[in-house]
Symmetry: D3
Subunit: 313 residues, 6 copies
């Protein structure tokens, strides 16, 4: 059975449960990161853990662990679980940090102090059903629910106080058609992010992503800079710009990049996954030695992918 | 040991823990109510449960339980725990409803579907240290953190996605002096509520509480209407109005009413608990047969209060 | 053939066309009213014309006609067209006022100065397909498109510069299900109106309609005051309030009142047309001597309604 | 007599009239472009038509015509009308696209479906009285009327739902002095555009125009980039910046560029048309083979300009 | 020569000067009141001084003087100056309170601590030229300059930090026509106040003045409640409401009430001072024993008014 | 005794007092500049005077003096005062410009017209107590008071209408700890400036300062560009960015640069003055021939600094 790292101990996954008296369940007071591996090697783990430290600092959880200690814990849980995984599985980590039991409830028979909880599960859980989207593309839908601006709730802090993300998802599920994913506007009418992914358009050969104001600073988003040698720009993106764009895509850790082929049902470009999108995805795949699209599609077909399916000439 | 009601079963309090894969811990996607008893009789339980049903409806958790079933569950847990309580304890219930395990994690060995979790603990936990405030009053402090307006996150839905409440509390803890409680403005500069309590001023004999826009509709707040036979008004309250008020107080379930004697360190009225405040509190105590202030102060002194301390001539 | 009144002359309906050089087609610079009859008698015509005069005044169209002259023109066109109408038809008037040819285009061979254009057509055109809604109710849907607040474009001026109404309608047409009608929020998140109708909830026996800020002052809306002897209130209405309401309905000149039975797919009350709604509609029908619901449903069935179908015991 | 192209037919200009039942006259639901020629050659016609296609796409008018077909139609009407024009006239096209008759009015005896209407008239109509402004400059005045931000009504869509432009013009006409042109702020207090023109300042040799947020993307505005080999920047421009600027000017298709010599009556720079402005205008004139200023001033004097008045050494 | 009361001493008016190192001249950090007499009797002096105390409290000037002591000082200066006044003069007091010398400048040879400065001058200075407005009425003009909302700068605190009032006045002076007075909107587009006066409309016999949000709580404004036995209401007033009103007027201490006969040049009601306005003014005159209008008009003509010009039958 | 330059005359400092009837004391209607010397040589005096002229232009004070005349006046007062100064003193000038006596008060025995008032005092007055901050750094605190955005009150105009700056200072004085300086957010949640200083972070070797929107354009701020050869960027800076920064500092004329070592009590970088900060300060010191830090610290110790304490190898 899969194990979860909890404050230095490994416990069974089904025991990874947080007391209802923990601040996490009182205020959504938990910060977290979620990672993935390529060929079982964690990708950008240091960047994830540094962002986690920023979140911890911002919300003032008094946790002493360093990035190195957190990293060691991550590898401990991976090592423990790997035998349980399929050979072609990738490790998806969820690293949660809570402030711990509220002092009001100090008489409850539960340990005090912050909790660091690292769980590890197959990435294919998260990507289930996404395989076809690499071919069809996503239809982004702008819900009535607006993103909460950073002045009120900082989205750059990756916290669990994000009911509005779920409300956006629920709203978009009311729309006709398939493959609808929410894309949220801030109150000024600019694109921020989806609930769990960053957004890009490509116009005249340049990937453009929203200003850093009201969205998480995605690690996949930032990796696009690396892949494109910095030829990426930031802008206030309004729906008009998307309709006028040549291509669009979203980025997130589990699927890396998925094409967006329409907005509110109106085709972007020719309504198909864009060629520059495909080039970047291929280059990403090459960098990490995994055919990202093929891996996810194979999982969706229930098939097995070898650890080295992706080779470039 | 205290028991917790969980989907129909009673489990030990220390086992009342929610899986990290539950939607509650992904999005703050849990709605709740917290109640209290007077002389061991639950107060306004029906109103609390009806508000809970509204929260459930708003966030679309597919829960079938009726208000009557919820009420029965509440009494079941009270009956189970009462022998563990001191004779002078009051029962504070925390009723949590989660959407349950996210479908992504369906392979985790955890039951699926919504969870209803009712815990029951001594009210004195919550009121610890508040006894003296009935005499000194609170100094409300307006933090830089603004309330999130209802258009972005509905505060009338009592959810756990409220990191900004905690941030307000942390900020106010940086202020000099004692007895500082946060009082939040909305982005328009009007008083909304504190993190967990409603706010009133009294001006020319009339209690005034903020418009219903950007605050929870407090059950204690509404009870003030009953106690004052409806002579309560709603207004946009700005800090200027508080400085000009004769008295001020806050309301919440555990302590009912506490006086606010200053705002940002500037005295309200004569800087002492107001006489009308005291009258209403006395009347409330009489209605429920418990001297609210004496009970909490006795608990704070570690003393015992009999079940019938409060008698009116 | 139906005739249209144009600056004092009657012309064929198909000739009621406005030059592309008219300010109306440059800026949406046309104000208007639309009325209806009951048993061929115009309803609240004076109120409509007075509101039209306010619109004209606000946008500063230099028109000299008085309300009485406008009324005379209305009756002139009705008299001319009545022989063309079915016996059970009602007269729907559309009264448009444009500023006229922009001076830039003074050399175009078109008359100068404001145009008053009154057309008259069967009300059944407008109500086509609405009959069933009296029984099923409407599902109001809140689109991402927000109402433009009065500080930027005054909705109390009934002008033709309202592309955002159409955008809201188009957006709502993307939603699943049937009978979806747009209900717009202002940027503060409060209900304003639909594109062409006002909105009410009923809570504890009191009809409540939004504050007068960001919506047209509907003549049907105001008539609800008369029918309810003033027991109507104004409030900031948020979606939460609608979910909590007992009933809801919309008002507009052609259909008078239609029940709203859900919001964004969530049932309001028991999800059926409300009893108070039905009472008010019956009372309205009685006042005007026409069974409003039966008339529209009969038209939808292609049947004929006599002029005196509605009698009260 | 001038002809207008209407869905493939040429009709007399005075017959270019749109039914009052067309969506254009219900909602301001018409998108358009206006062009001009230099020496009878259309300028940037392709760019205008591509922008028109974007407007059509955004508002979802189901029009099938391609840019090439639209262009062919433009030339057809020019060819038909040229004999009616003076030898020194330029062709100003107005290309309107409406959604067509609303389905409610399907029984009116009028064709259904979108309408493409291309009219063609002498540019001198539009520029009448502007000749002197090349020498005196414009006094821009900031009215109380704010621009509607793109989040509520997208100004990059060139639609006819723009009553607020007219309201701004009317308001500015109440100001003392002459040559007052409206310059609109958005609700954040930044310059957007005038009703029909874009705005530039020049500071330290660099033309600066507002960020792309809340203004039409002007084709003349973009041409300044070409003329200045890209040395143009975008900024949030507040009135303070204009008072501090060295020069200012506005751009629009009919007059290309006009100097702005004061804002709200306060001189910009030395209060005279700027030297860099003059250089750019000269360069523009050279590029198109027409002395833009001389042409418009000659028309204003009632004189005739030859087709080749402008030659550069 | 007129004397000024300065921290307990009387000094010549020309010496009533505040050091450039006083906080008043660093931050506009001075609060004040201005009063008037009727027949040499101060009107509502207590209300003015109580409001002054609120201002002092809000900005935290550590002044010990009580309302009674302030009142005594007022009468001291009046008594000293009265022999210098004309028999028909009224005493206008200006009561300024500064925080005093900033501690940075403690070495400047100037007394430390708060300053209370009470000057006293003929009311006719302030009302000069206003006489005719009782007959012509004012044309209120809405400038582009918006009122600063209370959340940013509390207008209920009567401070000298009000450059934006002056900017509004300057802007309105650019408008055509005469008798233009600024009337400011808040950023939401609602009427607040003029720079120094409150605003009322009358609709269907009820005086209506803006909600208390973003305007000074005028003492004359409040006196209208007394004169109208409370039949006054509060509302969000937009320009549309003014155009629709029957009458309008402004209130302020020096002139009490002046009619507003147009807004932005558009007539309100019949464009003449309203009858209800005149009734209220007459009643006010009767209450205070001074024909308010006649007194100011007589001063404007350079004539003398006796102390008892106003008698009612 | 120190002299003050007043409209061409030198008067004793204690006589530099402004009439209570001056517009400066009615509306905060005074614009100003404050400068300093290095080794008795004025620094960037021309830039200060040009900015002053922009302020004068913006608020429309009809002053005729040129920058050269203003500069001559500055030197006149410096020459007059220098003998009164310590040898190691620096000259701090305060240049105030008022609109002058309001016309209402024209009968007061005071000169009319604008006033130019230049005072000159030892810089050590202003820097008193700041010496230690070069070593400890400042703790910036974000108050609830927001900066007034430029659309309502232009902060680039250096006026005396800035009560909100003082309110921010007062609020921050309520915080625990020492060395707390206010740092204001605009209503969008972005850093603007402190009351009298600009703000910078350093991230990856690049100094970053807020966009020019809602803050004074500081002359010291701009000098950082010179010192860093333009390697400075502008950004929307939110608190999150500060927590993530490597260093932070503030700039203002008297102290040039002070390190910011924490925000709201959370350490920035390692919580000590940053190394790049120190480098820039050293470079600045070298450019002006004064060891800025040593000079201020010496003054604080009551010691004397020679005019040439700072020499570079």
């Amino acid at each position: 059975m899969r194990q979860v790292w909890w404050n230095g101990k490994l416990i069974p996954e089904s025991e990874a449960r947080i007391s209802i008296y923990d601040s996490a369940l009182m205020f959504g007071d938990m910060v977290f990161e979620m990672t993935r591996s390529f060929n079982k090697l964690q990708f950008k783990l240091k960047e994830h853990l540094e962002r986690l430290k920023q979140s911890i600092k911002y919300v003032r959880i008094p946790l002493e662990m360093t990035v190195d200690e957190l990293r060691a814990a991550c590898y401990e849980v991976i090592d423990a679980n790997d035998p349980e995984f399929e050979p072609d599985d990738e490790h998806r980590l969820m690293i949660n940090v809570t402030r711990g039991l509220l002092s009001t409830y100090k008489d409850v028979d539960i340990p005090k102090g912050p909790n660091v909880i690292i769980s590890d599960f197959p990435l294919r859980w998260t990507t289930a059903g996404m395989g076809k989207l690499f071919d069809t593309g996503i239809n982004c839908v702008i819900p009535s629910q607006r993103a909460i601006p950073a002045s009120l709730l900082e989205p750059k802090v990756k916290s669990r106080s994000r009911m509005h993300y779920l409300m956006a998802n629920i709203e978009v599920a009311q729309h006709k058609g398939e493959n609808n994913w929410a894309l949220m506007l801030d109150p000024d009418g600019f694109i921020t992010e989806g609930p769990g992914y960053n957004f890009f358009i490509i116009k005249d050969g340049v990937p453009i992503t929203p200003h850093e104001r009201n969205a998480l600073r995605g690690i996949s988003q930032r990796y696009i800079y690396e892949l494109c040698i910095g030829i990426v720009s930031r802008a206030n993106i309004a729906p008009y710009d998307i309709y006028e764009a040549d291509e669009a895509f979203v980025t997130a850790t589990p699927f890396c990049m998925l094409p967006v082929t329409s907005l509110n049902g109106i085709a972007i470009g020719d309504g198909k996954p864009g060629s520059m999108y495909s080039e970047i995805l291929k280059y990403w795949s090459k960098q990490v030695g995994v055919d990202i699209k093929a891996q996810i599609q194979t999982w969706d077909r229930g098939g097995n992918v070898g650890a080295s399916t992706y080779s470039f000439k």
